[in-house]
Structures are given as C-alpha cells and as structure tokens.
Amino acid sequence: MSSDRPSPPHRTDPLERALRIVARRLRAQRALDAAVLGAVAGAGIAALGLGLGRAHRLDAAAQTLSLGVAAALPLLFAALSALRPVSRLACAARLDRAFALRSRVAVAVDLAASGAADRSAFARAAVEDARDRLRAHPPHRAARWRWPRSAPWLLPLGAGLLLLAAMYVPLPPSPRSAAAARPEAPAIDATELEALEDAIRRLERRAAAAGMTPPPELQALRQLLEELRAGRIDRTRALARIAELLEAVEAQSRAHVVRATERALRAAAGSMREHDAMREAARALETPDARRAAEALRHAAEALRQRPPSRRELDGMRRALREAADRLQDAAQEAENERRLLQREASRAEADPEPDLLRERMRELERLRRDVEQREELRRRLERLRRELERSAEGLDSPDAASRALDAAAEAFESLHREGLTDAQREALRRLLEQLRESMRRGGADGGAEGQQGRHGRMRRFELRAGGSGEQGVPIALPGQAGTQGSTGRSSGQGGSSATGQQGEAGGGAERGPGSGSAQPTEEGQPVLVPDARGDSLLVIPGLERPGRGNGSEPQRAGSGSEPGTEHDPTMLDDPTRLGARHQASHVAGLPVGQGPTRRQVIFGAAQGGFATRSYERVYEEYAGHAEEVLERDQVPPGYRFYVRRYFELVRPRVQEAGTP
C-alpha cells in the first residue's frame, strides 16, 4: 500500500542526506574536540587550583570552585560546539574533498540554494550531476573520526593533576619515618612528676573519703604519668591531656551531687507512692523529674478541689509527705557529713606548712572548698525541700487545705527544678572558665612554641625565681583552681579577706583598723582578672563562688566571717553588691600553649626579651580591650569597674625608655 505523503527531502535526496550525515559527524567531532580542549583547560585550572591550594594561596572553597569549573569546562565546551550550526557549504566541501568531486557538491548546494537551478539547464544539470556522484559514495567517509588536536596535551596535564592530587592523599608513614616523627622525651624534671603524682594521690584520697569509686580518669592520669616518665609523650600533649582529664574528674564530682539529689528524690517517691493522690508525682520522682512531679502534684491538688478528701485520706497524705520529708532529711544529713569530711581535709591542706608546694596546696584547697560548697548546696537544697514537704504535711488538717498543701509541695519541687537550671548555668560558666584557662595556657606556651627543651628549662627557672616560691613546675589544673583563688585563707589580721577574689586594697590588718577588704560577691556570669596577694593574675568567675565570708568591719577581731559581707570599699561609687543586671559570659581566646595559668603568660612573655615585650603587649591589648568591651556592654557596678580598670592600669606594659638595656 503506497502512501501519498511525500517523503522528506533528506530521505530521498542523496545530496541532502549526505549533507545531513556529514553535518552530524562534523558537529560530533567538533564537540569532541571542544570537550578535549575543555578538559585540557580544566586540567590546567584544576592543577593551578590544587597547586595554589598546596601553597596555601587558595582556600578550600576556591579549590573546590576550581575543581568544579574544571569538571564543567569539557561539558560546557562540548555543548557550545555541538549547538553551533555547521555550514552546508562546509559539509559540501568535505564531500568534494573526500571523493575528489572538484566542487561539484558545493556548487550544487549553492546553485540549489540560490535558485539558479530553477532557471538554468546547466545549473540543474550540475545539481543532478552532484546527486549522481554522491549516490556512489557513502557520505560518512567524508567525515572520519580523528583524534582531537588537543589530545596530546591531556597526558602531561592529567599526569600533573594526578601528581598534585596524590600529594593531597596522606600516605601511611613508614616505620622509619614514624620513628623519626616520634616526639622526643619531654624535659619534665622529677619535681614536676612528683607534683603530678602527689595530685593524683590526693584525688584518689578524696574520692575514697567521699565514698566514691575512683573515676577512670584517674587511672588514665596515672597512665599519663607513666608515659611522661618513659618519655613517650611530649610536654604540650601531656599538658593538654592533663587538662582534659582533670576536667572530666571535676565533672564526675558534679555528677556526684546530681546523683545524690536523684537518690534523695527516689527515696521520697517511695513514701509518696503509697497514696493515690500523689502516686503520679511519685512516678515522676522515680524518673527522677522534679518538674513533672510538680505538675502531677498540681493536678492532684486540682482533683482535691473538685472532690474534697476524707479525713482518712488526709491522714494518709500527711503521713506520706512526712515520710518523704524524713527521707530527704536523711539525704541532707549524709550530704552534711560529706561536707564536714571535706572541710576537715581542706583545713589540713590549709595548714600544710610545706612552702615548696604552696601553690599546689592552694589549688588543692580551692578544689576542696568547691567540693565542700557542692555538698553544702546539696544539703541546702534537700533541706529546703524537706521543710516544704513538712509544711505541706502540717497543712493537711482540713479538706480545704489539702489542695493548698499539695500546691505548696508542687512549688517546692518546681523550685528544685529551677535550681537544677541554675546548676546548668553554673556548669556552663565553669566550662567557660576552663576554656579560658586552656586558651591562656596555650597563649602562654606560644612564647616557647619552638619546643626547645633548653628554652623551657630557662623559662621554668625564671618562673621559679619570679614566683619566689619554688612551686611545682607542672601546673596541675585542679578543679576549682581559678574560680576560688581569691580566698587567701589568711583571715587573721587581714581585715576580712574577700572570698571572691577582690583583694582588700586598704585592709592593712587587724591592728590598723577597719579593713576595706569587702565581702563582695562578684556579679554572676562576669569573669574578671584580679591580682592576688602575691601579684599573680587570678581569674574569678563572679557568681560561681559564694559571697565573701568576712567583712573586716571589726578591727580588733580577726577571723573569717560565715555570713555575707555588709560593707565595702569606700572608693566604690555604687552599691557593689547590686546584682541582677544582665551579663554575658565572655572570654578571650588565647594561643595554643597547653600549660600554666594566667601568670604563665606573663612569665613567658617576659622571658622572650624583657618585661615589656611585644608578646606581652599583644596579650595585654587583647585582654584589656576585651575587658573594656565587657564593661561597656554589660551592666557592671561602678565599683567593679574601678577595680577592673585599676588592675589593667597596674599590669600595663611599660614603654621601654631610651637607653634602657
């Protein structure tokens, strides 16, 4: 069955067919050429990008961009070339050259396009002649595949690219090179190692006294000590690991307080579970979740308002609450016992007459006091909850008061939950302090970053001379060392020392009248640098420590007070105890050192070339500038502003005068 529809011209006309085939081949070949050219260009770009990246002239994003461009270039080039049309005359010329047709095809294409073939017999004959000739030749032979002209460039460029890429792949070190790369034994002398071991022993002793299993971090610390003795780890890494481990130990200590609280709540839940109205709250306390327990108690109170309880139910509830209060009292008593034990240990540490270990003792003392405070806090918390529950139990004398009593109990649990939040904030602050201390350690070590042991030795000798105390070389970062350094422990005759690090400036002692060392609780959340009694810089986190214990207001009576201070330095312009303003924790990032508290930075800076070196100037500018920013940003009482600015005035690096050696 034949169709009346005419076939497309390119199906029947050998001239059109040949032109179409050649055009398709030419475009494909051109696209291939362009793709290879793009690949060559892309390889060049990628090599350039990787090379510059290797030379640290290009960041990672730019390198990625260069690789992306390199990958996209071949496709882009190929697409552009493939889309560019191919001239019919060029295709015809290809056919003429391939089959030696002496321009027959090109002339035929031109004549057909110009319409001459319709007017002249010879033109028609020329077109037909071209068609006849093309019938005898396969058109694809006119456009044979060939290697792209740029292909030879691909090999060297690709090889170079692979070489560069291989430089990015880290190769496993050979045993010889690994041995060569092993750090040399640290130059830690025997006194440093002894101090470290002493600290570990004390930690283990304290853990045993608190009834705690020695945490695994202590085992790791002992292992670290062995590595240091064997010289398998360098000083910087050792100090970093010490800091991490000690932080973990401290976190373990905090976890002890949390666990003790949880144990107490579970004990209280056991008593409350006996009564229907408080069963849900008991379940929440077993979790333990104080907030959910408070909600459950509120729901129970609401239910009692809807349905007043009978006298018997009231008695049951009262009994349950009292039993819960008794459980909490037992837990509070246990916390108090722990606190006393730690307090005794702290007193022994305070009375240690060993002068060489003074600073180490001070740190240990600070940490013990922190533990004491934690136990005290636990006891206080549990006691308050007990009082509230007791009060609620007493209030259960009538059906109307039952709901109010449960509301009060709910409020007590809610308060406990809120205190938990405060704990979290304090924990965050403590971590902030640790980060700052770590940064400052790193900054201090930067002065000796060359890792030359001789230099470390010189710095250590200088440090010992400057401190005048012959302290242990490795600054063991015991928990709480930075936050409580303000308490000097020398209450007698000092006019009331501040427990918060604010050094009593005018407090001359018991014989000289009222001291101005104020019992000033610092503002919560605002760490400041203050000088201590020995001239060292101490970092104090206001709000982390409890208020000062002595006010120094009675000139003839020495000793530390147990209550918050009532007076302050007359130079202060505002109420120094005013708190509640908005503050934001902030710190200055230091340089990687891995050792030493704040003062270590000063010593290293001085050791580099005098007391007012460029390094110390830079450190001072960073800290002073940051302190000024904080003072401007936060609502700091003017009295605190004075002390902070006074401190930075005192530690300002002096300009070296001409002629000064």
């Binding site: 005359l89 002496r102 090109a106 002339v107 004549l111 010879f122 004959a125 020329a126 037909e128 002649d129």
Partner: protein, 332 residues
C-alpha cells in the same frame, strides 16, 4: 537526472575539442597547456598573448589551430615600420570596367578569423593601438566606415621576452584586451626528440579541419551557458580584489610589488576561462578549482608591477601564487 540535451551538448563539445587537440597535435609537439589556453580563448571569444622565446612553436601552434578549425588565418609580422594601414587595410583608387574610378577599401590582414600578430611588441604604439579596436570591438573603422570583423575573431599575439631593444612594450590598455597571457616554455628533451623527428624527416601532413566556423560559434554559446555558483563567482572576485594594492584583502606581496591590480575585465576573463575549463572537464558548473587554475594566465598580464618588483625581478606569477594561497575558497 541530467537533461539529455545539456549532457549531449557538453559531451559533443568535449569530443570536438579532443579532435581539435589531436589534429593540432599532429604538427605541434608538446605545449599542451598553451594549446589548451589558445582553445580556451577560441571558445571564450577572447584573444591570447603568447610569450616565449623564438623557435618554441608559437607560430606553428597558431597556424595549425587555424587549419584544424577551418578558419581563415592571417599572420602579421610586426616591425617598427609597420603602419596601421598595413594591418587594417586601406582605401585604394580602383577603376571599374567602364572606366569609372572610385575609392575602394582593401581589407588588411586583421580581416581574418585567426590573426597571428607575431612579435607584436616590435610595432610602434600607433600600430599596436590600431589593433585595439579590432580586438575589443571586433570591427575596424576606416574613414567614416566601420567594417565588422567576422566571428569568430581571435587575435593570437606573440612577443619575445628576451629582446627588449627596439621594442615597444604593449600599453596596459591593450594588454587588458587579451583574455589570457600564455607562457610558451621550451620543450623538454623528449619533446625535442619528437620535434626533431617530425621536422627533419618527411614533411608531416597539414592538419585537416575538424571544426567549422558555425560549430565554433555554437561551442561558444555552450560555454556561455555553463553555470556559476555564487560562492565560486565570489571567489573569483575576491581573487581579483586581492591583486589590488589598495584593497584591504591584498596580501603584503601585492602591496609591495603591484602598482596597479586587475580590472573587472580580469574577473570576466577568469570566469570565462573557468567556464571553458569546466565544460572541457565534463562539468556543468564552474568550480573553485577552475577559477584557481585559470587565474594566473588570465591575470598575470593585468598586474602592473611596481618599481620594486621590476628592480627585484619579481614576476607577476609569484605575486599571484601568494594571492591564491591567501584567498580562501569560501567565506563563512
């Protein structure tokens, strides 16, 4: 399918020319390109300037061609004392049988179909210019009367490139009238043997006419019908343009060695000669190859060399080679 009439016309033309070549070849040894050039001029209706040293067969070629085509032939030996009347003809006083006397035109040697102007550069410019009208207009004006020349009319002029003394170089205007300038080379050794064999032995028979005047005119019409594609014509134009030193497309060699380039008549010559070439090759349209191959004989005498070219002995063909190498066949 090619129209049979066209196919036959082309085929017949090719056959006739083949017979003509064969007939001329009975007297002429070698010189096939020159013979093709002369046949091209005959079929295209143009004139040819043959340049070669004496004794290479120029006159014999022309005479044999005239004999083979059956056309009337005349030969003019140009000398310095030749006057225009010697070639054009003159009015003579003739007396009738009744004794009446009247001026009567006696045609000169230009009144022929094939005119051999031997050593045309030895005549004075006045005499050379007398040939100008005959070559261009195919007519001769004597007094107030114009005498048309009978077609086909072909002037085949020769000149000697060596003997410059006592010669008058052809003016540019007259050179432009020649369709082609053919260089007649010396025969090679094999051809020399053949020449000697033919000319020192028995006299070979004269060529016999294989064509006639009407057939030649018909062949000329066939040639004129050969198609020319636009891009081929454009190629010819671009070549001619490139011979002009003022043209932007002119190569550096043209700017240095050419004082004046080819005129539009040069493009006509190229295309006509290309048509003849195409049809003799059995094609129905001119190819770019035809244009390229006819460009040099059609243009070499139209380039006026500069002083630098004359001083350095730069031939026109060398400049044209550069032009052909630099002008692309197609422009996208």
């Amino acid at each position: 399918m090619i129209e049979p009439a066209v196919q036959q016309a082309v085929q017949r033309l090719r056959d006739d020319v083949a017979r003509l070549r064969a007939e001329v070849g009975r007297r002429l040894v070698g010189q096939a390109p020159v013979l093709d050039g002369v046949i091209t001029c005959l079929l295209a209706g143009g004139h040819a300037l043959l340049e070669g040293v004496p004794g290479v067969g120029k006159t014999m070629l022309v005479r044999a061609l005239a004999q083979a085509t059956g056309l009337r032939f005349s030969r003019i030996q140009f000398t310095p004392d030749l006057v225009p009347a010697d070639i054009l003809g003159t009015m003579v006083l003739a007396e009738s049988e009744r004794g009446a006397r009247a001026l009567e035109f006696r045609p000169g040697p230009v009144f022929a179909h094939v005119v051999l102007a031997d050593e045309v550069n030895r005549a004075t410019p006045k005499t050379q210019s007398a040939l100008l009208e005959a070559m261009q207009e195919h007519a001769v004006t004597i007094g107030r009367t114009t005498h048309p020349l009978e077609e086909p009319y072909v002037v085949l002029a020769t000149q000697n490139p060596l003997e410059m003394e006592g010669t008058y170089p052809l003016p540019e205007a007259q050179l432009d009238r020649f369709l082609l300038k053919l260089l007649v080379p010396l025969p090679d050794r094999a051809q020399m043997h053949e020449i000697l064999d033919r000319t020192t032995g028995t006299e070979p028979p004269d060529p016999q006419p294989v064509l006639d005047r009407a057939r030649i005119l018909e062949m000329r019409r066939t040639v004129r019908e050969v198609a020319v594609a636009r891009h081929v014509q454009d190629y010819a134009i671009r070549i001619v343009e490139a011979t002009r030193p003022q043209a932007p497309s002119a190569p550096e060699s043209v700017r240095r060695f050419v004082r004046w380039g080819a005129s539009p008549r040069g493009a006509q010559a190229v295309l006509l000669a290309a048509k003849v070439r195409a049809v003799l090759d059995g094609r129905y349209a001119v190819a770019t190859e035809d244009v390229r191959e006819t460009a040099k004989p059609a243009l070499r005498h139209r380039l006026v060399p500069s002083f630098e070219a004359q001083a350095e002995g730069i031939e026109a063909d060398r400049v044209l080679d550069d032009v052909l190498a630099r002008v692309p066949e197609t422009v996208d």
